[in-house]
């Protein structure tokens, strides 16, 4: 449910960037939302769509990368894939896992137009 606030955060960054870079239209936006970032991508898309009207987001294409969750398993001494926190290590079944990837919550880049 916090995806609405996150969408507002995305728009804020876009507006600040528009002011700094002086572009007119946003064509494409690429976000990165990791599997362990605690964000529901469907809800984030919905939130971005519902506030798009009349803003820079209107008519822009939004791509969302979804880097997979990764953790270091202490027992196996290797990096393993996990879908969410609290999952067992797929190799040994243990829970001594330290998440190392998939926590990203970033705006990567954008394609803009000056006219």
């Amino acid at each position: 449910m916090h995806e609405a606030s996150l969408a507002g955060g995305v728009l804020k960054v876009l507006e600040d960037t528009a002011r700094r870079e002086g572009f007119v239209r946003l064509l494409e936006l690429r976000l990165e939302v990791g599997q362990l970032a605690g964000v529901d991508i469907r809800a984030l898309r919905f939130a971005l769509e519902s506030l798009a009207l009349g803003t820079l987001l209107e008519g822009a294409r939004v791509d969302i990368d979804h880097p997979p969750g990764q953790a270091w398993c202490m027992q196996c001494a290797q990096t393993v894939a996990i879908a969410q926190r609290g999952d067992a290590c797929p190799a040994c079944g243990g829970y001594q896992l330290q998440p190392t990837g998939g926590m990203e919550l970033r705006i990567i880049d954008m394609r803009v137009s000056d006219n």
């Binding site: 449910m1 960054v13 809800a43 506030l51 803003t55 820079l56 926190r85 000056d114």
Partner: protein, 337 residues
């Protein structure tokens, strides 16, 4: 499901939320009447033939960046004021406010000089802040409206209000317009250590993502809830340093497996500390007050009371270190063969 409030997608309330969300943020969006001023450079280049008007901008910006910058400022501010801030997170009805009231009452007995203040987050009403104020502790209610969590700017503003209020009692009011532009290098006015309890909106999902500048998040889980909540809402328990199992006086009447709950919490966060207590009967409060002392960095000399807890932690650290050594050894053997 509606991302604003969780109402169903086809309800009339939902249509209103979508409209509000769109309309409200539209206010801060780029104003087309001022666009010429800001975006003149782009418009001027339209006349250059054969040149692409498209370009890429690499940002790599953290979506939570704006919040996190304010949170870092809050953290520095709290430190300079000698304030230990704790962010209390839980689902609705876990007994957060009752625990805070009981804690304040207990601290009044044991450490009458310790200053405790509370920031109360709720969507509406000042009921909780009123309950805190009844204990004599200063409290500020923050109503988030349709928001489901507190954010760092809300806490910054609430803290400024609390602080200005406290000082208007101590000093002449005109001295303290308090614009907070002061130097943070030194401890402010030589203030003694104090506690700030931030009670977040009852919600086990969203507050996990928002740093408020707190020293630690404290998750409260009551035994009337499911023991599997740490797994159902792993992000919150992963972000918390301490889990308080509240309402333990009801353990006789409910089916709640404490051992399993702790085990599940440590699956998502191997280092999470756990305290079992009942804010109503006072059982376990000693352990909690002790934890607070440590959080404030106060050293005291009755280690025997908490020795089992600390020994357990120490044993855990040793175990983890042993595993780390094994892991390193396995890595180096792998590299040489």
């Amino acid at each position: 499901m509606c991302v604003v409030c969780g109402c169903s997608d086809n309800s009339p309330a939902h249509a209103r939320h979508v409209q509000q969300a769109g309309g409200e943020l539209g206010v801060v969006s780029v104003n087309p009447t001022h666009g010429d001023l800001h975006f003149g450079a782009g418009a001027a280049r339209v006349s250059v033939p054969g040149m692409s008007q498209e370009r890429a901008i690499k940002l790599e910006a953290d979506i939570l960046g704006a919040n996190n910058r304010v949170a870092q400022k809050n953290r520095a501010h709290f430190e300079s004021h000698g304030v230990t801030a704790l962010n209390f997170v839980s689902s609705l009805g876990s007994g957060k406010t009752t625990l805070l009231c009981a804690t304040i009452e207990a601290l009044k007995q044991r450490q009458p000089t310790l200053h405790v203040a509370v920031i109360e987050g709720d969507q509406q009403t000042s009921f909780d802040a009123d309950r805190i104020r009844a204990t004599g502790a200063p409290a500020i209610q923050v109503n988030t409206g349709k928001g489901c969590h507190l954010d760092a700017p809300m806490v910054a503003e609430a803290f400024a209000h609390l602080h200005a209020h406290a000082h208007s009692h101590d000093h002449s009011p005109q001295r303290h317009s308090h614009d907070h532009a002061h130097d943070h290098g030194l401890q402010h006015h030589g203030e003694a250590h104090s506690l700030l309890f931030i009670e977040n909106v009852g919600n086990l999902v969203c507050p996990a993502v928002w740093d408020l500048g707190e020293a630690a998040k404290v998750a409260i889980l009551s035994v009337t809830e499911g023991e599997d909540k740490p797994l159902k809402y792993p992000d919150m328990f992963a972000a918390s340093q301490l889990m308080i199992l509240n309402k333990t006086d009801l353990l006789l009447h409910v089916k709640f497996d404490v051992k399993r709950c702790v085990e599940l919490a440590r699956r998502v966060n191997p280092t999470i500390e756990v305290i079992e207590l009942s804010a109503t009967t006072g059982e376990g409060m000693d352990m909690w007050l002790h934890w607070l002392d440590h959080a404030m960095g106060v050293h005291h000399h009755h280690h025997h009371e908490s020795s089992t807890h600390q020994d357990a932690l120490r044993a855990r650290v040793l175990q983890l270190e042993a595993e780390l050594l094994q892991a390193r050894a396995a890595l180096s053997t792998g590299a040489t063969t």
